[in-house]
Symmetry: C2
């Protein structure tokens, strides 16, 4: 059997209270007994049971991370950085892929609460406002990542999507492009479900356009589910819908890749005939040929900040709500060039 605190106490000839104190470094213990206890722990290879200590109201040092899909490179990177920071700070993380499915979200959250995780990071396409509101009023430590819900007063770390959209558009305009198509990201195969981040990016796009005296043309904005195939299909529709734009701004890298395929299929050259810009700067962007001009999200920073914010909440140090907004960075590669 695994040794318990009793075994250690017996071995060190002290009470379990004393052992508990040296484990948690609370109270005052003489150097001598502390040493004796430490030796006993060592000798028995004792490891305190997180389960037992959690039952007395202490932390489990375990967190939940909800994201739409762990197999999506962007979220996988987010998850990795969250995990890394957690590891540094002494937390493990339970990963949950929700597929933008509110039922799954609810189920995961319920399970995580049963398991007494210390907090949850929401990177999901979370639109189940009611559940969030509930968690909040229970004062459950919660942080959103890469996702704004303006209606909710919740801690958030995200990237400035508006600025990203603005920058891309401004850059494309500077290259001489005037007709710029957009492929926005929706979820659950429902074009009505445009992601909030997409909306913001489009807002930036629109503002840049208008700042340049160019009108916003709704017909240039297409909506697609976030898979390569869907992106390809929708980009194809955009291309076939009339005189094609000279540039396409895909609102994430996966869609950009779909777009590249659609463009190629029509015998158009990239970037000469059509410039393409993505968003996220995932590993995919450097792999495609030609390398994709895209907007880098500071994924590592986002993961770290989210974790740090959550830990602050858990430790109760901070109770004002914070919104951390990081700046995106345009990565100019080879899918864009001056319009000739």
């Amino acid at each position: 059997m695994k040794p318990t605190i009793y075994d250690v106490a017996k071995e060190a000839q002290v009470s379990i209270a004393t052992v508990s104190k040296v484990i948690n470094d609370t109270g005052r213990i003489s150097e001598k007994t502390r040493k004796r206890v430490l030796e006993a722990m060592e000798k028995l290879r004792y490891q305190p049971s997180v389960v037992a200590s959690a039952l007395t109201g202490k932390r489990t040092n375990t967190l939940g991370l909800l994201i739409p899909d762990l197999a999506n490179p962007f979220f996988a990177e987010v998850a990795r950085h969250v995990e890394d920071r957690g590891q540094e700070k002494g937390f493990n993380v339970i990963m949950c892929s929700t597929d933008y499915n509110p039922a799954k979200e609810a189920k995961y959250i319920s399970l995580l609460k049963q398991k007494q995780v210390d907090g949850i990071i929401l990177g999901s396409g979370f639109y189940n406002d009611q559940m969030i509101a509930e968690l909040q009023q229970e004062n459950f430590p919660l942080v959103m990542i890469s996702q704004e819900i303006p209606a909710l007063d919740i801690d958030t770390v995200s990237v400035d999507d508006f600025m990203g959209g603005y920058q891309v558009t401004q850059y494309l305009l500077s290259l001489g492009h005037r007709r710029i198509g957009v492929i926005a990201e929706s979820f659950q195969d429902n074009p009505a479900n445009v992601r909030w981040s997409s909306k913001e990016r489009i807002r930036g796009y629109r503002e840049a356009l208008e700042a340049a005296g160019i009108g916003f043309d709704e017909d240039l904005v297409f909506i697609s589910n976030s898979t390569i195939e869907a992106g390809k299909r929708v980009a194809g529709a955009l291309l076939d819908a009339g005189p094609h734009p000279t540039a396409i701004f895909a609102l994430n890298d996966v869609l950009a890749i779909g777009t590249i395929k659609a463009v190629r299929e029509r015998g158009l050259k990239i970037p000469e005939d059509i410039a393409i810009v993505g968003f996220d700067d995932t590993i995919l962007a450097t792999i495609v040929d030609p390398p994709l001009t895209t907007v880098a999200q500071p994924i590592r920073d986002m993961g770290y900040q989210a974790m740090d914010l959550l830990i602050e909440k858990i430790e109760g140090k901070e109770n004002t709500t914070k919104r951390i907004i990081l700046s995106p960075q345009l990565m100019i590669r080879q899918t864009t060039c001056p319009l000739t």
Copy 2:
């Protein structure tokens, strides 16, 4: 406060023992009281505490998954499928990226045990045999995925790497190639640490070669860390090392992509001048241009089988050790063509 079993008992006017019985469906309870208890649970929105029940020796319904790197698309896909199957079966999973670092592996395992996870799936580059042996003699539920340690008698689900190597080579030979280079995968920046799976694939390569009456030439086998940059560098070295081979078999997709870059950089055409084959069939393979001929691992199957095996172990249904070996599948795309 969250309701406890006592609250439910009071509400339903029964003892906590009775409530426990209806929760776990043990013992015999009259329909009438069962209904009353169920209603009370409903009314109070009661959820049993996993922590408390774990303390009495029951399961935590939480598992650990150790992999080298969650941000690597291959492992991210594995993780996703493991998670999915876990979800179906009622388990959550704590993901741990080890970076092939034995110290991290040890630390994660120790933490997972403290948290009383019900079992662990090892997808790591796990070579810390001693730690595994220890877990085994404690009879701790353990399954290896995508990784064989022949010396250990442990449950495993993996792909037939030998066959994969053989198939690729045979295919390349059938295309007329005779000089076939190999880029194998090592870890920790140490060429001496060639992954077991690489060794098996090379064994298949060698056997196919010899079956065709062609000698195995050690000078055609190069070792690289598994990153695009390293792959590119090492592939470059291979290409520059003399008359270049007409085909290169990269032992995973990431290395294949590095190889493509190196080949391009030297002005060589793919597949006409040099054919390239990868391994894994990750999302990367369909994204590169041209699409990569590669070997598909049945990732989904692997994840599912590993989870199912682990659950069998946890439930103690099965105590003989099983090795499940799945067949890889050659996906012919456009980085290969007959030698002209």
